[in-house]
Amino acid sequence: MKKYDELTEFLLRMGDSALVQGQRLCEWCGRAPALEEEMALMNVGLDLVGQARNWLDYAAQRINDGRDADMLAFRRDERDYRNLLLVEQPNGDFAVTMSKQFLYDAWQFHLLEALTESADQQVAAIAAKSLKEVIYHLRRSSEWVERLGDGTEESHQRMAAAIDTLWRFTFEFQETDAVVDSLSESGIIPDAGALKQQWQQTVAKVFTDATLSVPEDARSFYLSGREGMHTEHLGILLAEMQFLQRAYPDASW
């Protein structure tokens, strides 16, 4: 995996996670349980793809090797993607989709809120723009977690199973590395410890209201999204997402 300076690495992490989560949501197109849900899933997906473009635009500007945001999205291989492992997981049933969305939204919400104060002006601007949208996303996904968790016996069981499937990937919300440490020291991103605590509080509150139990901290394992070490699901997602640009490079219409 090619390495860039710390800020660029961070921008790629933000952009790739939003893009992959957005792409996953768009897989629901034509398959959602109700028309209103379909519109909501697509709209949230669209917001995230737009946010990804803002992050990747800025990354491309810094990389400055002639590639733009589209090229970064469509011509990088799996090993060069730095998204969270959580967001590349398959949609599963609606319980998996909504719990994944919720865990990600809660993390985005607290991170973006802190990033609006970033020492880097462009990071602060993208964060302020994204935050307005993510507040809506979090409100919606929290409501679904509560409704399904505190719903019927079956919906409760499905939510518990979904969280059991996804929770192991949340270790990435808590881990620091050289990029995180250096950027938080220079005031560009928030302190990882404080962020972790806020995320845990939001998750614990919603899970409790949803009558779901809060698992213990997830432990890290050998994969790492930001190091380009992904689960087997990302390659398949990218194969579909990148097909047109790979088959017909520089196609225009």
Binding site: M39, L46, D47, G50, K132, E133
Partner: protein, 180 residues
């Protein structure tokens, strides 16, 4: 009209334009006639997405801000603005996207709100404070009968900027322009 006519018309117009206040006012007037492609009842000026119009080195500079990060109409709107300005005689207008400060529905003009209502879309209520973002928005009035006896059917409507509501008095469903 032949292509040659168009070109000569454009160059005459551009000679006339010097970037003084009258020309900038003229540019604003042109922009006030550029409709939002998804809600054609309101113009890009009504929506508050044109952030500034300035003149520099014989060129018109226009700053535009997107409504939502993923709004698919963003590029299309920029193209429409460029075409309208060129047709009005502004040669090669320069458009830039401005992210900061982020667009808020507070920037929709009073006239824009009236136009939305007349078009059947309830305009955003209250100001885009954090409270309304967190769901404690004020009463949403039905754009058809003005009743406040309305409820939300879905957080999201036909586009990212709208939510779907229903009036419990006249029973009509309607779009509500979300407050952000």
């Amino acid at each position: 009209m032949r292509a040659g006519d168009l070109i000569s018309t454009d160059s005459t117009a551009s000679l006339r334009l010097r970037g003084d206040d009258a020309d900038l006012n003229f540019a604003w007037q042109v922009l006030a006639d550029v409709p939002d492609p998804e809600v054609p009842a309101v113009s890009v000026v009504d929506l508050g997405i044109v952030r500034s119009v300035t003149w520099c080195d014989d060129r018109l500079y226009v700053q535009v801000t997107p409504t939502y990060s993923g709004c698919p109409a963003t590029e299309f709107i920029e193209e429409m603005i460029r075409e309208a300005l060129q047709a009005a005689g502004f040669v090669n207008p320069q458009l830039t996207q401005k992210l900061d400060p982020a667009w808020t529905t507070d920037w929709i003009t009073a006239e824009g709100r009236e136009k939305l209502r007349a078009f059947g879309i309830a305009p955003p209520t209250g100001s885009a404070s954090k409270r309304s973002l967190l769901g404690e928005s004020g009463e949403v009035h039905c754009p058809h009968c003005d009743s406040s006896n309305t409820r939300q059917l879905s957080e999201f409507g036909s586009t990212a900027c709208k939510a779907l509501y229903r009036c419990d008095d006249c029973l009509e469903p309607f779009d509500y322009f979300k407050c952000i």
